[in-house]
Structure formats: C-alpha cells, structure tokens
C-alpha cells in the first residue's frame, strides 16, 4: 500500500494524543478510610476487568480513528503488483494483420496505440519504457528504455500493420532474450486482439524462459463477436481454379466472390457459408489464351480487408484430351483397367476410353496424352503408330498388368521405353519421394505385386518405392512407365487418396508448366541467389527495380522477376493466410493465458470505457480512501457507543 499524499502521514504522530490523555488522566488517588474492603475488592474484581477492557478498547478505537483519519488525508492506494521505482515497462504492440480489423470505424491498431498512450500517461515519469511491435517477428520501435514519452508517442505513431500472423510467445521470448542481461525489474504490457491463433501454446518455452520477476499485463483490444470472411487459398491447375472462401463469423453468412483475370472481372459466385466453415469454389476457366494471367479473387468488403483479396498467377492451359486404352476390358467397370484412372483424370482433361482393338482405327492425333493399360503386345503397325505419336509430341503412359509380356515390351517397344521391365516383385511400399510435402495423405497402400523397372540412362525417376526402386519413370521422349497396374489386381493404390495426387503430379508434366510460380507472404524478402545476375523485378504497381540484391514484398499482388536469360519467375504475394492465418479472430479463453503465465503475475484488461481505471489499478493499485471513510464512520459509531456505555 502506498499513499498519494504521503506528507499527511505525519498526522500519525497524533496517535500519541489519546495515549497521552489516557496516561495523564491517571490522577493521583485520594485516600479514603473505609470500614470494610471486602466488598470493594469483590466489586473491583468483577467490574475493573470489564472496565479496563472497555477502556483499552476505547483507547484503541480512538487511536485507530486518528490513523484512519490520517490515511484518508494521505489517500491510500492498494497494489496488485509490487513494483519498484526502477521498474521498466516494455510494450509489445500487436501489428499483425488481424489488427487491421475495423471496430466502430476505427482500426484495432489505432485502438492499441491509443491504449498504449493512455497507459503511458499513467506511468510514473521516472519509469523507463521500451516499445516493440510484433507479429511473427518482433520489431523494435523504441528498443532502449527511455523516460522520454514524447519520443515514444511519436515512434508509436509510425507503427504500421505487418501482413503477418501473430506469435505472442515468440514476441515475449524475443523481448526476454533482448533484455536478458538487464536485471532491472520488468513489466511487459502486451497489447493485442487476443485472437486465438496468436497464442500458439508453446508453454514449455515460456516456462523455461520467462523469469518469475517479470510481470505480464495483457490488454485486450479485440472484439467478442468479430465478423470476418476471407479468401483462404487459391490453387490453379491447367484450366482449373480452386478457391477456398471461409466464414470466420459466429453466424451464417452470404458471401459474394469475384474472379478478376488480368484486371477484368471474369466470374462471380455467391456462397452461403456456415460459421467457422469454408466453401470451395472450383471451376474451369474458358475463353482465355493459354499462358500467364495475373488474377485475384475478391470477396465483398468486410471489417478486415487484408484477407478479402487473394492474388495469384494463372498459367492457363486448355483442358487436354486424353485417350485411355484398355488392354484387358472387363464387363465390370471396377475390374477394368481404366475405371480409377478415368475418375482421377476427369478433373483435368477430356477423357475417352477405348479397347486396345479399337486403337488402330482411332483418330489419335486429336489427343495429347495416351494411356496404355495392361496392353499385352503391339504388332508392327501399332509400334509404328506409337513411334509417330512420340515424334508428333504426344505423351504416352504405360500401366503394366498381368497381360503384359515383359519380353515383348523389352524387345518390341524397348526403343521408346525409359526402362527395362525386369521382373515381378512381391510386396512393396510407396515412398513420399517427390510427392507434395504439404499433403498429409497416407501413402500406405497394399502392394501385392509390382514390376521391377530398371531405368535407362536418360530416364528420370519421378516416384519411388521405399526400397528406392522406381514407381514411375519418365523418358526424354515423354514416355512414362508405372511399376504397378492401373486396376486393383496388383495393388489397392488406385483406390487410395494418394492416387489422384500421383495422377495430378503426372499431369503437371503434360501441361508443359515450366514457368516458375512461387508463393510468398507480404513482408518477406526476395533474395538473389549468390552468383546470379541481378534480375529486374516488377512490383504489382508496375514499378521496376533492377539494381537491388533483395527486395521486400511490401504489397499484395503478383511480382515478376525477370532474369537476363528471358526466363520469368512469378511470386504470388499475399498476407500469410496459411491455415486460418489471422483471419480467424476467435478469441482465446483467458484461462489458457493464465496457464501460460502460471509462474508470473498476470493482469488481463479489456480496453473498454473503464480501461484507464482498470490499468491504473493493476499497475499502481487502486485508491481505497472511500473504504477508509466508511471505516472512520464505523469506528466513530463504535467509539460513541463505548464512550456512552454507562448511559446506554
């Protein structure tokens, strides 16, 4: 407890007054001769003890009255954090893109700044202050603690939104690391919107690194019922665009979404999305030229605009025509060689299935890709046809099977195959070699039988088994050979979720997609690789930079990186929306925060209309003069009652 007017504490000396009066009132007794002292002694023994207790109680109450009166003038303050005059305050201001959310016409970041300024006004002038902004990186604003509040305020104004995610644990740890050699008592004030995603519960890290002497105060500038929707992700393949639109509100929302290609509105859609659910917008694009297009998908405006627009490069390819040739047709589709393949290919191509007997008569020139599934043998004309197909730039894919004669393949069409089909092997397991890492799909498949493919010198192994033997080989002539059959006779891979991924992976070779398209988050930096000539970089606003080793992706949009060899690389730069990113504004349960800082003092304050009072209470305690006035009244009544005990 401290006092606002401590000078009045001198009034405590007045406590001696009733004591002195009490002592002085002990007059010298007058002598009276009395007949018999027995009754006096008896009366005294019965009364004096009570009287003395009452008297001492009265003395105590009178002393207390004076103490309370002194305290009332001195204005006592009770403290929740015991802090010394040397306490340094470190502000951590969240400037992740969720802080761009508009609340009552004001950006959260502005609220955060105003809250910090309000708090600054309450901080004692002798206390030093440092300021850092944070998202998933920590940036110093005023890194050396200072008492110069004017400087601090001007620096705070310079804080802008970083289009990154929040990582509070990282921010706290970085600050602790920064001040690890500074033994001054610290008070960390975290100003954030309490969005759940910012509190990735790295409890161990906190438990190890946070000194117990650190006091943590979290100021909540968030909103309990945030409404937000976002374009979470966009993927393109061939002529197809797949966008994910998410609703992060607490109620069902109708969201209109538009696709812009090369600045022109191309398509729009309308979704009804349930709370905390996503909707996939997948469609084939028509009527545009093959090649690179700069696009974005945009939803209708909401309170958080950063995630409403998703920029991407669309390397458009018309849907190829694919011919599936079944070498062992069955009455039942499931047992057929092409059923699962056709299902997997339908998304990316126009597929036609024929029996091998129809092959010679089919107009093959109109197809880009031909799949030969369990075709046992090829006659001379057929071999010639295959040769012509290759020379005309078609893609040939061979799925072996039980009808396939290894000998005939290795002799008759050996000249076009990228491998020798060696022998049968039992069992096997697909490895994740070359498969997209992001996909958390089980690659376990029950492989009973497979061919051992021995690659030729010009062959490229695209996929492998876990024993390093090839699963899929590619020759320079665009001939592809699988080691398993396309039906379920050799393995159950065709019915596994990995199968469409394998086919998509294969398909990317058919699309001649040699243009390099990268994805980057806003705030990341492009860095030239060592030895590379400085490329020319065209930012989304058309500004050309051609003399810098590195460039910061400041804007959302498509950056073009033009190399001297006329090769162009594209970078889709968007806010970090991976996962739910900052778009999901659902707040963390404060109990979780308490668990996180269980060894430290933790104060949580909501930035509402009573914020000033509450933060003052946590930092410097609250004035309790009113309670002392009440106490004074109570003791005054008690004193009156005790003093007039006899009369009553």
């Amino acid at each position: 407890m401290t006092f606002l007017n401590s000078i009045f504490l001198w009034g405590l000396t007045a406590v001696s007054i009733p004591i002195i009066i009490h002592l002085l009132s002990q007059k010298k007794p007058r002598i009276i001769y009395f007949s018999d002292l027995r009754f006096l002694e008896l009366a005294a023994s019965r009364s004096v003890k009570k009287f003395r207790i009452r008297q001492y109680l009265l003395l105590l109450i009178r002393c207390l009255l004076l103490i309370i009166l002194t305290f009332i003038f001195a204005r006592p303050v009770i403290h929740y954090i015991l802090s010394s005059k040397n306490t340094e305050t470190i502000f951590l201001i969240d400037n992740s893109y969720s802080m761009e959310y508009y609340k009552d016409g004001k950006m959260r970041l502005e609220d955060a700044k105003s809250v910090v300024k309000q708090t600054l006004n309450l901080i004692n002038p002798q206390e030093k202050i440092a300021i850092f902004s944070f998202s998933d990186i920590v940036l110093p604003v005023v890194k050396n603690p200072t008492t110069d509040k004017r400087l601090i305020i001007s620096e705070i104004e310079k804080i802008n939104i970083e289009y990154k995610k929040t990582d509070i644990i990282n921010a706290v740890n970085e600050v602790i690391k920064y001040f690890q050699n500074d033994k001054t008592e610290k008070r960390i004030i975290i100003v954030t919107d309490f969005a759940k995603n910012g509190w990735l519960l790295k409890k161990n890290i906190i438990a190890i690194n946070l000194p117990a002497a650190y006091k943590i105060i979290c100021i909540d500038v968030g909103d309990n019922n945030s409404k937000n929707f976002a374009v979470s992700n966009v993927e393109t393949f061939g002529n197809k665009i797949t966008a994910v639109v998410s609703n992060y509100s607490e109620d069902k929302r109708s969201i209109s979404t538009e696709l812009y290609i090369d600045g022109k509105k191309h398509k729009s859609a309308f979704f009804e999305i349930y709370p905390h659910k996503s909707s996939e917008w997948s469609f084939d694009v028509k009527n545009i030229k093959n090649g690179i297009h700069k696009c974005f998908i945009e939803t209708e405006p909401d309170k958080l605009s950063a995630d409403n627009k998703y920029f991407f490069v669309f390397n458009y390819r018309e849907k190829p025509k694919v011919l599936l040739i079944d070498g062992n047709p069955h009455f039942s589709d499931f047992k057929g060689e092409t059923f699962f393949l056709k299902t997997a290919l339908t998304n990316y191509s126009d597929v036609k299935v024929i029996n091998f007997s129809q092959f010679e008569n089919e107009e093959t020139s109109s197809y880009s890709v031909l799949f030969f599934c369990n075709v046992s043998d090829f006659n001379k004309d057929e071999v010639l046809l295959l040769k012509n197909l290759i020379s005309s730039g078609k893609y040939l894919v061979f799925f072996p099977g039980d009808k396939v004669s290894m000998e005939k393949y290795n002799t008759k069409i050996s000249f076009l195959l990228p491998c020798e089909i060696s022998s049968f092997l039992n069992d096997g397991k697909l490895s994740n070699y070359n498969l997209p890492e992001k996909l958390e799909i089980s690659i376990d498949g029950n492989i009973k039988k497979r061919f051992l493919l021995i690659p030729k010198h010009n062959a490229e192994t695209l996929l492998k088994f876990s024993d390093d033997t090839p699963f899929l080989l590619k020759g320079k002539n665009n001939v592809f050979v699988f080691a398993i059959s396309s039906n379920l006779s050799y393995s159950d891979i065709p019915i596994r979720p990995v199968f469409p991924i394998i086919i998509k992976h294969l398909f990317s070779y058919f699309l001649e997609n040699d243009t390099l398209i990268k994805s980057a988050n806003m705030g990341e930096t492009y860095q030239r690789t060592a030895g590379e000539i400085i490329p020319e970089i065209v930012s989304p606003d058309g500004k050309i930079t051609n003399n810098q080793n590195e460039i910061l992706f400041k804007q959302a949009g498509v950056y073009e990186i033009r190399y001297k060899n006329h090769k162009t690389e594209y970078a889709n730069v968007n806010p970090d929306t991976f996962g739910s990113g900052e778009s999901d504004l659902e707040k963390i349960d404060t109990r979780e925060i308490k668990k996180l800082f269980d060894k430290n003092f933790l104060g949580i304050v909501l930035a509402d209309s009573h914020f000033g009072k509450k933060i003052k209470k946590i930092m410097y305690g609250s004035e309790i003069t009113t309670y002392f006035i009440l106490l004074l009244l109570i003791f005054a009544i008690l004193e009156t009652l005790l003093a007039n005990y006899k009369k009553l």
Binding site: R30, Y33, S35, D36, L40, R46, S47, V48
Partner: protein, 295 residues
C-alpha cells in the same frame, strides 16, 4: 448522658412499650406476661431507691433503721434480662458525614437501656471487637443505667471484628433465657455470623439484631480514583470508585438482603438502620414493629 438521651427521642420512646416477645424464665410483673405468674418470690438484695421506683417496693423496716429508702429486690422482680452487645470494631468508626456507626449504635443502646430499665427490665452491656472489651452485667436499677451510659460515652472504635466468635463465647455465659440486642455493622463472615445468631434462637433466647450502616457504605457515593484504607487493618485498595459503584451496590444489597431473609426465616428480629436516617425515627419504627408483634 444528655447526648445519648435526646429529649425528643426519649419522649417518643416513652409513649410506647417495649414488650418482650417471649416469656423469659422468672417472675414477670408489670407489663410482661409470665407462665410462672403467682409463684412465690425470693429476696435477692436491697437497692437504694431511685426515681421511678414504686413506693410499694420500699422496705420500711430498713428505712426505720437507717432513715434511708431502700427497695427490696427479688429474682423475679426482673421482668426481662437483656444484654446489649455493641460492636466497637474499627469499621464501626466509619462515618461519611454526621455521626459514625458507633455513635449511632451507642445512641440506640442508650435509648433502649433507658427504656428497658424504665420498664423494670435488667439491661447489661457488652462492648466487643474480636473479644469482649467491657461487660456490664444486667441490672434493672436506674443507677445501673448511668453505668451503662458512662461506658457508652467512653467507647471508641478500633481493631478487627469477630462477631460470631463473640456470640458463641457469650452464649456460653448465659444461664437463663436472655434477650440479646446485637448492634453492629455485621461486617463479618456472613454465613458464620448467621449461624451464630441462629444459635441463640436454638438456645431459647431472644435476639434482636440492629444492623447499622453508613449511607456511603450502602451506596458508595464516592467518585474518582480512590486509595481505600481499611479502618480495621492495614489492607488497602486503589480503584476507580465510579467503575465499581454499580457492582458494589449490588453486592451490598445482596449482603443486607441475605441477613434480612435468613433472620426472618429463623424468626429473628432484624432491623436495618442507616446512619443518615433520623435516630429517633429508626427507634420508633422498630418499637412500633415490636408493639405490633405483641398485639
């Protein structure tokens, strides 16, 4: 003598008759009734005539020989034999204002002596504290009254009290039924004292208790911090009189009430006197009560 026989007091007492409640052993004449009425009387002694003696008791033969008036006295002639036991312990010397308890008691003793002798009763006086300091045996003559008065005027207070012991000792000396008049502040061990007083009733004696107290002893009208010193011994007490007043009054009230109730239960006459109340009024009230008892 004058100081003890205040004319107003005497005048008031003279109008009433002190009648013995119980018939004592011996011959009774005058106002007193006796179960031995008509029994022959035995000569005891000659006593010089004094004012008030009846002429019929004059011994004319002795007058013829000595030319002086003598009255014949018989054992039976003493209607009532009474002993006044006056407490002269230190506590009796206490007075807040006016007269002390001892003075007050002496007045009562003198008045009663006078009254009883006037009625032909024999009165003796014993003054005591822890022991009997002076014992004047009962006589019925007016001369004897002056002896009693002399002794009463000489008495002074001092020393501690042991009333119960005195009563026990004294009872052993009594051979005939006697009226004992106990004048005291009764500041003694209460139970013991009550037992001692009751002992007289069991011995077929009559005992009248005059309990005398000062008004300050009763009400403790003293304020402030007081160093109380005992009048009987070296004991002292320092206390705030105001604080203990209420409790003290309660204790004293219980003390007096206990005597009243215990003596009433044992058919013992008990009268409480406060030295602030008029002496004559106290006596008159008492005698009236006796008279009522008689009728």
């Amino acid at each position: 003598m004058k100081s003890y026989l205040d004319p107003l007091t005497i005048a008031k007492i003279s109008t009433m008759s002190l009648k013995a409640k119980y018939v004592v052993e011996g011959f009774i004449s005058g106002l007193h009734t006796s179960k031995f009425k008509g029994h022959s009387l035995e000569f005891a002694q000659h006593r010089e005539y004094s004012f008030g003696d009846e002429m019929k008791h004059l011994d004319w033969k002795v007058f013829g020989k000595s030319d002086r008036f003598f009255v014949k006295q018989y054992e039976e002639e003493t209607n009532l034999k009474a002993y006044i036991l006056l407490d002269v312990s230190g506590s009796m010397g206490y007075k807040s204002d006016g007269i002390s308890k001892l003075e007050y008691g002496s007045y009562i003793a003198a008045a009663l002596s006078y009254l009883m002798i006037k009625q032909g009763d024999a009165v003796g006086l014993a003054v005591y504290d822890t022991e009997i300091k002076k014992n004047i045996p009962p006589r019925a003559s007016l001369n004897h009254l002056s002896i009693i008065f002399d002794e009463l005027s000489k008495t002074s207070s001092g020393g501690e009290t042991d009333i119960s012991k005195i009563l026990y000792d004294f009872s052993k000396k009594l051979k005939k039924r006697t009226l004992i008049i106990l004048i005291s502040d009764l500041f003694d061990e209460q139970e013991k004292l009550i037992r001692a007083v009751k002992n007289y009733r069991f011995a077929k004696n009559e005992i009248i208790v005059f309990h005398i107290m000062d008004k300050t002893e009763e009400n403790l009208d003293i304020n402030g911090n007081v160093f109380f010193k005992s009048l009987e011994n070296e004991k002292f007490l320092i206390t705030e009189a105001d604080i203990i007043k209420k409790e003290y009054q309660k204790i004293i009230s219980e003390f007096i009430d206990k005597y009243k109730s215990e003596f009433r239960r044992a058919d013992i006459d008990y009268s409480y006197f406060n030295t602030s109340s008029p002496l004559d009024l106290s006596l008159t009230n008492y005698l009236s009560k006796r008279e009522k008892l008689q009728t």
